[in-house]
């Protein structure tokens, strides 16, 4: 069995502006959860965005709490929306 899984991370608005990219792949240990992705991304973001609330969607569905990820999942980091 592979030791890691690879997920696609999608970023939008303030998150993609801060990272300078809107999508990238991330290798994670088996059993990793969506919240781990958010923690890893926050480490790369400037400190002034520490308090920014970011929701997580896995495979285009918002998750409640946390979720264990599978290989090739798409994890979207969704800062406050402002449509309309």
């Amino acid at each position: 069995m592979e030791k890691t899984i690879t997920v696609t991370v999608r970023c939008f608005s303030l998150v993609s502006d801060a990272l300078g990219k809107s999508a990238f792949e991330l290798d994670l240990p088996h059993g990793a959860t969506a919240k781990l992705v958010l923690e890893k991304v926050r480490e790369r973001m400037p400190a002034e965005l520490n308090a920014l609330p970011i929701r997580i969607a896995v495979n285009q569905e918002y998750i409640l709490g946390d979720a264990e990820l599978q290989h090739q999942d798409e994890v979207a980091l969704i800062p406050p929306v402002s449509g309309g």
Binding site: F12, S13, Q60, A76, V81, S82, G83, G84
Partner: protein
């Protein structure tokens, strides 16, 4: 009846529709881009969206709205990409037997849209 669309195209004028014979209320809301925001002149707003999710979230929200309120139909078109000031970025139409339920459902739908649907505004300033 639910109709949802996310589009980069300009929202076309609404055609008159006399087929809703059971409904006494047809409530139409247009959200338009203002020319000024926080004292700055805007040429428009760029709407970024999560393409694979935005339309599905709008559809789910419309279904919830139809379940929550006694309305007979909801149509929603949301524009994405650049929208020039004065133009509509959002159109919602709700039909119901009486006006009160349409008004209430409209306020709830738009408020929820601004909380859940993955679409983001970015102001584009006017060049002098």
């Amino acid at each position: 009846m639910i109709e949802i669309q996310v589009t980069t195209e300009k929202i076309p004028p609404l055609q008159n529709d006399d087929s809703h014979t059971a409904d006494g209320a047809e409530l139409i809301f247009h959200g338009r881009v203002r020319e000024e925001e926080d004292g700055k002149k805007l040429s428009g707003i760029f709407y970024e969206h999560y393409e694979e999710m935005a339309e599905n979230e709008l559809q789910k929200l419309a279904e919830k709205t139809v379940q929550k309120f006694p309305i007979s139909g909801l149509s929603c078109v949301h524009r994405v990409g650049f929208v020039q000031n004065g133009e509509a970025s959002l159109r919602v139409v709700i039909w119901s037997k009486h006006r009160a339920e349409s008004l209430e459902a409209m306020a709830w739908f738009i408020s929820e849209l601004k909380t859940h649907v993955p679409i983001w505004k970015k102001a584009v300033l006017m060049r002098d």
